[in-house]
């Protein structure tokens, strides 16, 4: 594999703590800010839709970042980057949770019957829920203690992250009125990210 740097890049503890703090601030600031503007009717004509769209996009973008970290760590190389992966992954789940909460509370306005019938009857919502459950499972098993306990099962569970990305993009495309819309850019980016991990994916399919 071609390496971009001649010497491995190290990230000191200080830099790591600062960077993580910044990531927390940016993600929480963004989602919190959106919510604040939404409450004050300053998010365009339909604040609920704006929130659903922006939180869904945030979840997908964070998922893509999560997936680009390990190829980047190998290619730079910079093993310390791996210490950021879980943060992004869990935030992808958090953004999806926020997305689902906004949909349930402010779009359906707590009409749980409607939520259930929508999940059953609307394929794109069904796919969204499956994606959400996968993200939930990956997040719950992301703690070091559980990871150690799970042994090699951990990796096989977390390989579902590829399926999760695929389903998230499917949900995205399906929610749009026509095919030629924004989600195509995300499929493209996802494709590029996947090619950086093509060895791994080939291996996955061979050993299954």
């Amino acid at each position: 594999m071609k390496r971009l740097l001649s010497k491995p890049l190290r990230i000191s503890n200080n830099v790591r703590v600062t960077a993580k703090t910044l990531i927390h601030l940016i993600v929480l600031g963004y989602l919190g800010g959106l919510f604040y503007f939404g409450l004050n009717d300053a998010l365009g004509a339909d604040p609920v839709k704006t929130l659903i769209h922006n939180s869904g996009l945030t979840a997908v973008i964070l998922l893509l970042i999560t997936l680009v970290i390990s190829p980047l760590a190998q290619r730079l190389p910079c093993a310390d980057l791996m210490k950021f992966r879980r943060l992004f992954g869990v935030y992808a789940f958090f953004a999806a949770l926020y997305h689902l909460a906004i949909f349930t509370v402010f779009d359906l306005q707590m009409n749980i019957g409607l939520l259930i019938s929508e999940i059953i009857r609307r394929p794109y919502i069904t796919v969204g829920l499956i994606t959400f459950i996968l993200l939930l499972a990956l997040s719950l098993t992301s703690f070091d203690r559980i990871k150690r306990k799970m042994g090699k099962h951990w990796q096989s569970l977390h390989n579902y992250v590829y399926l999760t990305l695929f389903l998230a993009l499917l949900h995205f495309s399906w929610s749009e009125k026509t095919l030629l819309q924004t989600s195509l850019y995300y499929w493209l980016v996802a494709f590029v990210v996947m090619t950086t991990r093509s060895m791994k994916i080939k291996r996955l399919f061979k050993f299954k």
């Binding site: 503007f37 026509t178 924004t182």
Partner: protein
């Protein structure tokens, strides 16, 4: 009938939503906040963010309509029963795919469209085909205000004070032949002025010009309006200037914008969304809570007014959007099959 003024039925009671002035008063001044999120990386969500910034002007500036929109002379509506969707929302949240698929794209790009001079041609199966100019649109027929609910197929709705004239007047003017059974509408499509027409991707993969159609009796119904303005002034471009159709008992996509040709015909005309997804969008597209879109329910809708996230704005959708006076036109039609 022609001289008596037609008053549409109204059945809306929503005391808990506020009007335009309260809406503006509530706005927070958050002008200088730097606010950039991950999702602003892409053009279309960038627009959503731009829209977010745009809204932080002072309330004074916001209520003022751009002077380029000509004030109109018209008979005011006496209907006070419905809470109007604020002007800013009516002109900033539009589906007009010729300018892009994002709801904020029309407001951002529609100013590139030339609306004056304009020619609207009316021809087909009639005695006296004619063309109508920009000025004729405002002067040929007396204008009146109609406050209509607009129900989008995407399950949101607005209440808009349109200014216009009944389509029936225009059709009578050209003296239709008895063989004319349908009315076909064709809208403006100019790749130099519309980014969605120029690029298939920006325009959502739709074949332009956008075409729509009505049955003759639907077109002649006194509810069916040719709108040339809203909120007392000429239509902003993003709302379909200089002239658009408004058919309040049908989903919004039937109400074609920026119309250049109306053709009377004996055959059911092709319609854009039906061509694109025939199992999702029918020719009739009557608002009907019991016929769901394959991908979402049409049983209820969110009314776009004011109040941000906490607005309890979900209301039951009504058959024919509540305009029950049109029901007799469909007494012999299976509404589930002819959606």
């Amino acid at each position: 009938m022609s001289n008596k003024r037609f008053t549409p039925s109204v059945k809306l009671t929503e005391a808990d939503v506020t009007d335009q002035n309260v809406f503006n008063g509530r706005r927070k001044l958050l002008k200088s906040m730097g606010f950039l999120g991950a999702s602003s990386l892409l053009a279309s969500s960038g627009q959503a963010n731009a829209q977010l910034f745009d809204l932080f002007g002072s309330s004074e500036e916001e209520t003022k309509k751009p002077s380029s929109y000509l004030p109109l002379e018209y008979k005011k509506s006496k209907d006070k029963s419905q809470v109007l969707t604020p002007y800013e929302k009516v002109v900033s949240y539009n589906n007009f795919y010729e300018f892009g698929t994002d709801k904020s794209a029309p407001a951002a790009y529609a100013h590139e469209m030339t609306t004056n001079p304009w020619t609207l041609k009316i021809d087909g199966l009639c005695e006296k085909p004619t063309t109508i100019s920009y000025d004729d649109l405002h002067n040929k027929f007396p204008l009146e205000e109609r406050i209509y609910r607009l129900r989008c197929v995407e399950a949101w709705s607005m209440v808009v004070p349109w200014v216009g004239f009944e389509l029936a007047r225009l059709i009578k003017l050209v003296q239709p032949l008895s063989s004319a059974k349908y009315v076909a509408f064709e809208t403006y499509a100019n790749a130099d002025e519309m980014r969605g027409v120029k690029s298939r991707f920006a325009g959502g993969g739709i074949q332009y010009p956008y075409v729509e159609g009505l049955r003759m009796d639907e077109a002649m119904h006194p509810l069916t309006l040719m709108a040339v303005g809203l909120y007392g002034s000429a239509l902003p471009n993003q709302n379909g200037a200089p002239v658009r159709l408004v058919v309040p008992w049908k989903y919004g996509f039937k109400s074609a914008k920026s119309i250049v040709r109306i053709r009377l015909t004996d055959k059911k005309p092709p319609t854009t969304w039906n061509i694109l997804a025939p199992h999702e969008y029918g020719f009739y597209a009557n608002v009907n809570p019991t016929v769901s879109h394959p991908r979402w329910s049409q049983a209820s809708e969110r009314r776009i007014t004011t109040g941000g996230l906490l607005a309890r704005n979900r209301t039951e959708t009504q058959l024919f959007n509540g305009y029950s006076e049109v029901a007799s036109m469909y007494s012999n039609l299976n509404l589930k099959q002819n959606f």
